[in-house]
Symmetry: C2
Subunit: 111 residues, 2 copies
Amino acid sequence: MASTGELVPGTLEMLILKTLSLGSLHGYGIAQHIHRLSDEALTVEEGSLYPALQRMLAKGWVAAEWKQTPTKRRARYYRLTAAGRKQLGVESSAFERAMRAITRVMRATES
Amino acid sequence: MASTGELVPGTLEMLILKTLSLGSLHGYGIAQHIHRLSDEALTVEEGSLYPALQRMLAKGWVAAEWKQTPTKRRARYYRLTAAGRKQLGVESSAFERAMRAITRVMRATES
DNA sequence: GGTCAACCCATAGAGCATCTATATATGGCC
DNA sequence: GGCCATATATAGATGCTCTATGGGTTGACC
């Protein structure tokens, strides 16, 4: 979607944290959620999603547990930890500040 | 500012294109312009700026010319080409779409 | 006339996030 | 039995940004 590929780099983990803040979900479900809520504008590739989840597990922002889906398949459910919830706050406010700053530059007119 | 460091990755070239759309400027001036317009929120490092300008020269989005600054120093002035102006349009509308999409996801509440 | 701040360009190398491609496996449907 | 949607995961490549440098000029102040 943005420069290199589909997503704006640096926003993936924030979007995952936000998604999980609404409830536990497995990886595939996370991707679907983001895709649907963004009106199909954002597509999270599997090769981006799972590495991101591994990073976030390592940082303690999410915890994982193997469960059965409603459709009887085995899936790994991720949930937000306290640290993850805190991180969501940090990232989303930093993102908002950055967006406002970029918007200011992009709105400038000829002096 | 964002994830890795200061800028939201993928937005630097767009910010440079936008800055040059207001008039020719040398590298140093571009960095100052972005810094000032963003209320000091965005700082473009020289190690990011000059490689970006080289990439953009190679892609034909900008053209460069050595001139004298008002302060009597020799500086390389960059200006937007027609292709660069077109690219600015492409990137800024893609960016806006992405921002709207991200905002939709970030505003979601518990079902 | 020395030195310091501000001005100005540029590259090398590292780090990190994302993408492409691939591998594996199950359940439901026809 | 074959196909599609569901589901997880890694390897390798790519590309952008940052850190760390290096060089050089001008003007002002002491």
